[in-house]
Symmetry: C2
Amino acid sequence: MLADKNPKPLSEIEELGEFGLIKHLTQNIKLRNSSSLKGVGDDAAVIAYKNKQTVVTTDLLVEDIHFDLLYMPFKHLGYKAVTVNLSDVYAMNAHPKQITVSLALSNRISVEALEDLYDGILTACKTYGVDLVGGDTTSSKAGLIISITALGEVEKEEIVYRNGAKENDLICVSGDLGGAFMGLQLLEREKRIFLETPKVQPDFLGFDYLLERQLKPEPRQDVIQMFEEIGVKPTAMIDVSDGLSSDIIHICTQSEVGCNIYENKIPLDPLTITSAQEMNLDPIVCALNGGEDYELLFTISLDDYNKIKDQKRVSVIGHITADKGSYQFISKNEQVHQLTAQGWNALLKNN
Amino acid sequence: MLADKNPKPLSEIEELGEFGLIKHLTQNIKLRNSSSLKGVGDDAAVIAYKNKQTVVTTDLLVEDIHFDLLYMPFKHLGYKAVTVNLSDVYAMNAHPKQITVSLALSNRISVEALEDLYDGILTACKTYGVDLVGGDTTSSKAGLIISITALGEVEKEEIVYRNGAKENDLICVSGDLGGAFMGLQLLEREKRIFLETPKVQPDFLGFDYLLERQLKPEPRQDVIQMFEEIGVKPTAMIDVSDGLSSDIIHICTQSEVGCNIYENKIPLDPLTITSAQEMNLDPIVCALNGGEDYELLFTISLDDYNKIKDQKRVSVIGHITADKGSYQFISKNEQVHQLTAQGWNALLKNN
């Protein structure tokens, strides 16, 4: 699992040059969407969504801030860099169709590592039906930097913003929470052991699910398809990237409402619970503040409850209140706490 | 002209936090295009171009690779980061309408510096009628990183690709070439003097034009408007970012043609000539390989010559030949040389 700590600093990238490198990495790209009129190779890509609307979102990933090459294999890194952007497109109830990928490369990165990175990028593109249509490749004196922009299409009336939650709407979340954070804790623990005693091999037996949550997150395309199938349009939606606590507050502030979230409704995987307890962490705190789960957090009208109640991939975890600015968390023993936004600062401490 | 070498490492960014910082920087943004339906503040921006097609282009700028904060004021940096992307949109004969801006910030950057950077970004947006609709802000352990994606709209039949040049087409370029490269040489010269003798103030008297070419490039929106006014659609087009030599070769390889470029037709500003000579450089080599001029290089049908011949902002510098792979440069004394693509590797040596 641990990546090669000392990748060979090959000179091949310099030999290929900028144009050669781009050609080498992009030569096998095939466009699969009819809306992708022109991909890599001109001053800009050209896209035609006809009467649909365009959504656009972008993320910047920086080595040693967002990822650690010691335990993040390049292929997973490429895959995750794409899927976290697609997650933002799905969070608009839209369908991702194109991405651009910009890379700044330090001379520590070999052509083989770059090929693995692109392999991950293109695997994610294939899985989610997205075309890589452009980008920029340059050098960096510091670490690896990945900037991805995702574009998607959506019918005007299907767009779901963050600001549509109304009093009495049900708060729902897909999948389970806290797993990606626990995966990170496991990787960090094994990294410390590895740095102290390099001969000891990491012990991840039985923790595959948590590692996948951290290293290979899958955006919830299936939940967007479910909305279409069961005829539900959420009133507000966001993806869980900062943590349930921050993200429900984003919905509430933009919708000018409050919320009640119930501890006993928050979906946790058994593995998240046992590994958190083993590391003296509260699994609920991991779910609230861990982030990076890339699940969809959304609100629906009470009228839609019957349509969603038997959907195994969704949990109802609370409801919206008219009490603007009041973000209540009701614990199992019925104590009421106020949720607070954590975001970047808190996460930096953990990375 | 020289920026403060030791900006105060203010702790304000940490105090504001990610959400506070984004809010602080984006609170005054107003959307000016009817196609910008939703800007900053959701999972993605939403755009409606109706029946027009979308062009998308992206650039990644890395400190000490693409810019040097010793002589690049933050406001100019923000302005240039936007305009180099708009230049790519104009090079498709399209109209830029939206940008996203992602920043990775080291803790050496103060809130004041960031405000200047955004001031430059928003000034460029205002000048060219573009909306800032999204982005990402994160931290960096290395230097400043700026990733900008520009989106624009164009009628399907108006798009100009690189691959449409035909035998006998005229090769044209807007403005003059080599100035941005000479501006860089001047800045590098004064930087060396400054580092050796910090008390000596830089001497840029009379060189404003060259410094502006390097620090504040303006994309050729006016040339796109000219095409519309005089009823000319180029057969191929690219913006001059790598240098005339590389960029005409891009057009020729994609169009599967050759070219003849004439030394005595290449537009040079008198200041480019005198400053190059003063520094023992050949001004024509600066024009061919310097890059960063952000002029438009395009080909037109011979039939359109009469429409373009009196346009002062455009020079005809050669013509397209059927001799695929032959990129000829005819010097003043009628000697024939082969042009070669330089690109990134060559430029790195100069930076």
